[in-house]
């Protein structure tokens, strides 16, 4: 492939949204209340919409017969390059919102930079996605504050979720080969530059929510290189089931 770096770079952005979207989609009919159920699946649909634009572009870059669906549905686990954070299970609503918040802060900062990309397709997708992601961040931030600064039980649950997911935050700012190449060309975002402002924003919300900022200095990594936690396989089994059982099926 001529543009392998660009192709891999697009997947690294899109896979995050695909996997997180699938996680949120699991709440269809299972959210804690009708309203939050709809809110989570709305976010899921926003993310899937973004994912389609990215994969369509990636399929074009690949220049062979593969389609957006092939890229989304037919890769093996090691070929997905999403960060570990987004594949973590829903566990409870505090986890779902903590995961969402920790990703949303990053996602918005990332898209604001991607908007400046020299690649017009990527910049257009970023531009279109920013409004959606701004709302996701508003929604998840709201829930961090509600549960954090809520009752003793809700505060403890949110603290557990933040503590449990904290170890996956550092990976957001790791660079792959494709990352470095694309950032140098002015196409991609230099994620290392987002780290400081990310933690400032996250910490400010945690403090306002009367939550402790975790002190852990040890962080998990691997997702960006295709080395995942045990949770991703199960998620993919569900995501890919239809295409595997009925190859080439369409709606």
């Amino acid at each position: 492939m001529k543009n392998e770096n660009l192709y891999n770079y697009i997947l690294s952005i899109a896979d995050n949204s695909l996997i997180l979207g699938q996680r949120l989609g699991e709440l269809t009919g299972h959210g804690p209340s009708l309203e939050t159920d709809i809110a989570c699946t709305n976010m899921s649909l926003d993310l899937f919409g973004q994912v389609r634009s990215y994969y369509q572009y990636a399929a074009k870059i690949a220049g062979d017969n593969r389609t957006e669906d092939d890229i989304a549905m037919l890769r093996k686990e090691r070929e997905y390059v999403n960060v570990l954070l987004v594949e973590q299970p829903n566990t409870d609503f505090a986890y779902t919102m903590a995961r969402q918040f920790l990703f949303d802060v990053y996602h918005l900062l990332f898209l604001q930079e991607l908007q400046k990309s020299k690649d017009l397709t990527l910049s257009a997708i970023a531009n279109k996605s920013i409004k959606e992601v701004s709302y996701h961040l508003r929604f998840s931030t709201d829930w961090i504050k509600r549960l954090g600064d809520g009752t003793e039980v809700s505060r403890q649950k949110m603290q557990d979720a933040i503590d449990g997911l904290w170890t996956y935050t550092d990976e957001l700012f790791h660079q792959t080969e494709a990352d470095i190449a694309m950032a140098q060309e002015g196409v991609g975002v230099d994620v290392t530059k987002l780290k400081e402002v990310y933690y400032n924003k996250v910490n400010a919300v945690l403090e306002e929510s009367t939550l402790q900022i975790p002190e852990s200095k040890w962080f998990q990594k691997g997702g960006k290189k295709g080395v995942h936690t045990e949770h991703l396989g199960y998620l993919l089994a569900e995501l890919q089931y239809m295409q595997r059982a009925y190859p080439n099926m369409e709606w």
Partner: protein, 96 residues
């Protein structure tokens, strides 16, 4: 309404575009007004249905009692002269 298990009920009014009035479109549960607005956005306006949302806690709405429908509404029925039914409307005038 004040028990901790159930969030209070809110009525949602959506204005579909500028210049039109807000219309009641349904109700939902939420813990406070901010959550009610966000929930209303997610439940009622995700397909470009609106440009503005009002929410009001249902308990703040005073409603007429159906038992009193007779005295409230019946008297209007036998006064045809209160309705502008004696005019011929041109076809061009719609929504009357």
């Amino acid at each position: 309404m004040s028990d901790k298990k159930n969030w209070p009920l809110w009525e949602v009014f959506v204005r579909s575009k500028n210049g039109l009035e807000h219309r009641h479109c349904g109700s939902l549960h939420a813990a406070d007004e901010d959550m009610a607005l966000e929930n209303a956005r997610d439940v009622y306006t995700r397909r470009s249905e609106g440009v503005s949302i009002w929410v009001v806690e249902s308990k703040n709405i005073t409603a007429s009692n159906p038992e009193n429908n007779g005295e409230m509404f019946e008297p209007a029925h036998d006064k045809v002269y209160r309705h502008p039914t004696f005019y011929d409307l041109p076809d061009e005038v719609k929504h009357m």
